[in-house]
């Protein structure tokens, strides 16, 4: 729309300047025409002035000659006077022919007649006296002759001839014509020969001989023009015409003097006449140039403004498009997230409800068949299995949450590859054997047995892959675990782990999402397989965390191959580390028997379970319903009465953290020493951190795992001797 508005604007600017240009052009043309007219008029006036000057000289010469003729008429011996005459610059020769004779005498001594050089055929006159055509006189100078009758007593007694040179005329002509840029000749009209080039009339290449020579020297070859000139010369008319002379625009002229006895021939460069015109033209040119510059300046401003506008619009458009794309992407991501969440919840619902159904169902059956010990044992076994599955599910979810939130920190330490493989073998081989599968372990001897890495997480990766292989391989199938090390530098060794099976395999579509959460290969066969669908996601995240790569190759009904490459730092210590777990293991033998616990638990059922479990293990406990009561009970207790405090976190009145801090703050010796175990359903890392920060010794999650409790006790509780 803006573009459409700008076009008329630009058009208007151009139009205005076009009109302005046209006006300047027309004014310039008009000035030029007027200047040309003025130039013609100016030159005409100057030529007329020269013409008048020559004619005046001739008239004076004629008048003087008449007086001289009268004097001679009165002389007794006119011939003697003629012979004795000494030439001057004006009259270079006198001659007298007596009436009735054809030959007379002259001042130069020789005989004189009209038949010689002197011709009066043109009939031209000046002041009533006949004037001859031009001729080269005895002085080698172009001359003319005026004849005057010598009359005595009313009778013509003879004719007085006086010869004048054109050189004398030169003195009466201007010294320089148009600042010596013009060229001027006097031409005898009859013979068309040049008889005088006044001094100071400029320089030229050639053409000083006659009119034809003038044409040739000045490249005047146009037939029509020359015909017109000839016509004017024949008719004794003035002519002025424009013609370039030596590449300069010039006004050429043939200007008749004394009705065409002689004529002025030459040219004047136009610039010599129009000196002020050149200035005017220059100024017009400057004005036009300034206008043009202004126009260009406007155009430039317009162009830059337009370009800037366009750039801004383009930037805005790009930004809008970028925002739109981001929004679309965000929407898509949100939709994906929503879809994933929906799917996650759906899967969660399904995966939680399934074992929960078993727990509730068997619990109901347990109530009915409580009197039958065999059934009770069978039901509790199944309830336990379902509970374990439910717990595994919850742990995996927590694991994924921890990894994705970046809260997993690798605990790198020196470990033995061989030991790792041995423990994995021990764990997987029974599972494979249960399904009649053959489990092959192929280890290429690593160059370095001891490497630095998080052994637990590497084990987790291997267990995930191998347990999947067992799960997704039919009974009687085969599973391979291969491991090879390749040293890449002095500090790193790349470990390649391959887990291969000849099981059900996966479709290419599934392979694309295998590392996403809650994805499981689904077909009629695998539906029977139990699993959280989080294992591969956890595996992939752990491998990434270690800076490694994981690839998977699979074909349906042919099996799968997982290839994991891990860069692991080579341990500087290539000997077996002492087993730190041995000591606690030894202590574990003591179990919980005889220990006296103070427990904080607001939930009555949980409190009962805890009491029962501890009771079954030979220990007893005092349960308080909230943190404050625990604090009070501990404060009231005698020193050393309790071996440890089992602290729930989320409780009314006072939570577990505050209670712990309060206990630790008590001014009694055992307040700082008594082991306080967090025993809570808050299972996240930050929960653990907060618990440790509040002064607790260890963070145990619900449901209560007696083995873990035993380990903690063996580590932190100092038995009374």
């Amino acid at each position: 729309m803006k573009q459409k508005k700008r076009i008329p604007l630009l058009f208007s600017i151009i139009l205005v300047f076009c009109i302005l240009g046209a006006v300047v052009f027309s004014v310039s043309r008009k000035i030029s025409r007027e200047m040309s007219d003025a130039a013609v008029q100016n030159l005409s006036e100057n030529l007329n002035m020269i013409k008048s000057t020559i004619e005046s000289v001739w008239e004076i010469e004629a008048e003087f000659q008449i007086l001289l003729a009268q004097d001679i008429a009165g002389m007794e011996d006119p011939e003697a006077y003629i012979r004795s005459y000494q030439k001057n610059e004006t009259m270079v020769k006198l001659a007298l022919i007596r009436t009735g004779e054809t030959e007379g005498i002259s001042s130069t001594g020789e005989a004189f007649s009209e038949d010689g050089l002197v011709f009066f055929s043109s009939g031209k006159r000046t002041d009533g006296l006949e004037i001859s055509s031009s001729y080269l006189n005895y002085m080698g100078s172009w001359a003319y002759c005026i004849k005057c009758p010598v009359t005595k007593d009313g009778t013509d007694i003879g004719m007085l001839y006086v010869e004048y040179t054109y050189d004398f005329l030169d003195r009466s002509l201007p010294d320089g014509f148009y600042n010596k840029q013009a060229m001027l000749y006097l031409m005898d009209t009859e013979t068309e020969r040049f008889v005088l080039k006044p001094k100071g009339m400029g320089a030229r290449n050639a053409g000083h001989l006659n009119l034809e020579d003038f044409y040739r020297a000045n490249d005047i070859h146009e037939e029509a023009l020359r015909a017109e000139i000839e016509d004017c010369v024949q008719n004794r008319q003035n002519i002025m015409f424009g013609h370039d002379i030596q590449n300069k625009s010039s006004l050429n002229f043939i200007w008749m003097v004394n009705d065409g006895t002689i004529c002025l021939v030459g040219y004047v460069p136009t610039e010599a006449i129009q000196q002020e015109g050149e200035t005017v033209n220059y100024n017009i040119f400057i004005v036009v140039l300034i206008m043009l510059v202004a126009f260009l300046f406007c155009c430039m401003l317009y162009y830059f403004s337009e370009r800037r506008q366009k750039a801004l619009m383009r930037e805005r458009e790009e930004e809008r498009e970028r925002h739109s794309a981001q929004l679309t992407e965000a929407l898509h991501a949100a939709q994906l997230a929503s879809s994933a969440k929906t799917m996650f919840l759906s899967n969660m619902s399904h995966d939680i409800r399934t074992p929960m159904n078993a727990v509730i169902g068997f619990t109901s059956l347990l109530a009915k068949d409580a009197e039958d010990p065999d059934k009770v044992r069978e039901y509790t076994k199944k309830i336990m299995a379902s509970g374990q599955h439910l717990l595994g599910l919850i742990n995996d979810i927590l694991e994924v949450s921890k990894i994705e939130s970046g809260k997993v920190v690798l605990n790198e330490d020196t470990f033995s590859i061989n030991d790792l493989i041995s423990s994995i073998d021990a764990m997987i081989r029974p599972m494979a054997s249960a399904k009649a599968q053959e489990f092959h372990v192929e280890i290429a001897d690593p160059e370095h047995e001891y490497l630095l890495g998080d052994e637990t997480r590497i084990s987790q990766i291997l267990i995930n892959l191998l347990s999947n292989a067992v799960k997704y391989t039919q009974e009687g199938g085969e599973i391979w675990l291969r491991m090879a090390g390749q040293k890449r530098s002095d500090q790193f060794e790349h470990i390649r782990i391959e887990v291969e099976d000849n099981g059900y395999g996966m479709t290419p579509e599934y392979l694309k999402t295998i590392f996403d959460v809650f994805t499981r290969a689904e077909n009629s066969t695998t539906n029977k397989v139990q699993g959280t669908g989080l294992g591969m996601a956890i595996t992939k995240n752990l491998v990434d965390l270690m800076g490694g790569t994981i690839e998977v190759f699979s074909e349906v009904d042919r099996g799968s191959l997982f290839r994991v490459d891990l860069p692991l730092r080579i341990s500087t210590c290539q000997t077996a580390k002492p087993d730190e777990t041995e000591a606690p293991a030894a202590q574990e033998e003591g179990s919980l028997k005889g220990l006296h616990f103070l427990a904080a638990e607001d939930n009555e059922i949980n409190a009962e379970i805890l009491s029962t479990i501890l009771s079954l293990e030979g220990a007893d406990c005092v349960v308080a319903e909230n943190g404050r009561l625990v604090l009070e009970r501990f404060t009231e207790s005698r020193e050393g009465e309790f071996d440890a405090i089992l602290m729930d976190v989320q409780m009314p009145v006072m939570n577990g953290y505050d209670a712990t801090r309060a206990i630790r703050a008590l001014d009694r010796r055992d307040a700082r020493e008594i082991p306080i175990f967090a025993m809570t359903a808050n299972a996240f890392v930050e929960d653990e951190k907060e618990a440790l920060g509040a002064g607790m010794n260890i963070h145990l999650t619900k449901p209560i795992n007696v083995d873990l409790l035993k380990k903690a006790v063996s580590r932190y509780v100092h038995r009374k001797s």
Binding site: N137, G140, R193, K197, A203, H208, L209, N210, F304
Partner: protein, 433 residues
């Protein structure tokens, strides 16, 4: 961007202000609107066949002369005015006629004269002695000899004008002809050309046929080692010019009789204008002209064929003919001193060097050397060997260049060789003391 626009706008506005300030500026406060300069110009009138030319004129010879005149005008502050004359046809007065008239009537200060005119005016005592000019000290002996009359150096040239035969070497080669050395060789070449359809083998005009005569007449006189004695014998009448001239005239007569020269056409033809077109069109293989014509585009400077300039045929081989033109000052010249100053400049070594470089001619100054174009090398080599004849010699009491020219014209007009020789005898008798 905004800053640039602001700066640009400021610059435009500043420019506009300057323009307006310049336009509004006032002129002089004097009430008298004209300035009057004193006319202190020194003038020298030069009679010359050439018009004063613009500095960018194309004609090389004129430009060279004008260049030196310009040097004088600038150095001396004088203004040299050219008075010119050129005959329109053969019925007109010749340049020499007019030069004589003008010099005899003291019309001009400086004259550019041909050798016969120098001789005539020198004999009449109308030319100023230039011996005391500084530039005269640098002149070659041949120049001084040719221009000294009664012990006075009356003229000095700007170039040593050497005449030679301009031949179309391609045409000679086409017919297997060697360049002629002797008159017999020359006649044989003409015969071959004629037989091969070349209507007029020798292009001629009414001015320069005398060069053939001089070459044959004085080849021995100037190159035989007895020059002074022979000239003395001629001046005393012991020996006759006609005896020297006869072989050359008979040679010309044979050329005319055999149709190798068109006498009628030559008799009315001006130099180069008459025969030049046919020579350049390769219709005529031989013409005669002066050195400078080989360098001038308006003459034979740009032929479409291989042109060579050689000497005229003589018993001593190819013979250059050297007449002397020269600048002279009228003894009664109105501006004689200024004219002498002008000559000092235009005949100085510096000016002659410039002149020689532009026209590529032999300089009259022994201090000036220039290279010639290849076409002129045969002629140049002969001159460098001091093998040449003079077309004019002031030591001879009888004027040579002009008289011989006029007598050759009589031959062209039909006079016999004997009649021509009789004319020489008459002129010699008149010149005897």
């Amino acid at each position: 961007m905004t800053g640039k626009v602001k700066r640009l706008t400021a610059a435009v506005l500043a420019g506009s202000m300057i323009c307006m300030a310049a336009a509004c500026g006032s002129g002089t406060s004097n009430q008298n609107l004209v300035t009057q300069e004193e006319n202190s110009e020194r003038n020298v009138n030069l009679f010359s066949p050439m018009e004063k030319t613009a500095p960018d004129a194309e004609n090389m010879a004129r430009s060279a002369a004008d260049t030196t005149i310009l040097m004088a005008e600038e150095a001396l502050g004088v203004s040299v005015h050219y008075i010119t004359y050129t005959a329109e046809n053969h019925q007109d007065k010749t340049y020499d006629d007019v030069a004589l008239d003008r010099a005899r009537n003291n019309m001009d200060d400086l004259y550019l004269l041909n050798p016969d005119t120098i001789r005539s005016l020198g004999d009449e005592g109308l030319l100023l002695d230039l011996s005391d000019l500084k530039c005269a000290k640098n002149l070659r002996d041949v120049v001084i000899t040719a221009n000294t009359i009664d012990g006075k150096l009356v003229a000095i040239p700007q170039e040593v004008v050497a005449y030679g035969l301009f031949v179309n070497k391609d045409m000679f080669d086409e017919y297997g002809l060697a360049l002629p050395e002797t008159p017999e060789d020359f006649l044989e070449c003409c015969r071959v050309f004629k037989e091969n359809g070349i209507e007029t083998p020798v292009g001629a005009n009414r001015w320069w046929l005398e060069t053939f005569v001089f070459a044959q007449a004085y080849a021995d006189l100037y190159n035989g080692g007895n020059t002074e004695a022979e000239i003395a014998a001629l001046n005393s009448g012991e020996r006759r010019y006609s005896d020297y001239m006869r072989p050359g005239f008979e040679f010309l007569q044979e050329l005319i009789d055999c149709g190798y020269i068109d006498a009628k056409k030559a008799g009315v033809s001006e130099a180069i204008e008459g025969e030049g077109a046919d020579f350049l069109a390769q219709k005529t293989p031989i013409v005669m002209a002066y050195w400078g014509a080989a360098n001038s585009d308006t003459a034979y400077g740009d032929p479409d064929f291989n042109m060579v300039v050689i000497g005229f045929p003589s018993s001593r081989g190819q013979m250059p003919v050297i007449p002397m033109t020269g600048y002279a000052i009228g003894v009664n010249a109105e501006h004689a001193e200024d004219a002498k100053d002008v000559l000092e400049v235009i005949l100085s070594d510096e000016a002659l060097q410039t002149y020689a470089e532009i026209n590529r001619v032999i300089s009259p100054s022994r201090n000036v050397e220039t290279e010639c174009i290849p076409a002129l090398k045969p002629l140049h080599d002969r001159i460098e060997e001091n093998v040449y004849v003079l077309g004019a010699n002031a030591d001879m009491n009888m004027e040579q260049w002009g008289n011989t020219c006029l007598i050759v014209r009589q031959l062209l007009d039909g006079a016999t060789v004997d009649e021509c020789m009789a004319e020489f005898d008459r002129l010699q008798d008149e010149s005897l003391p």
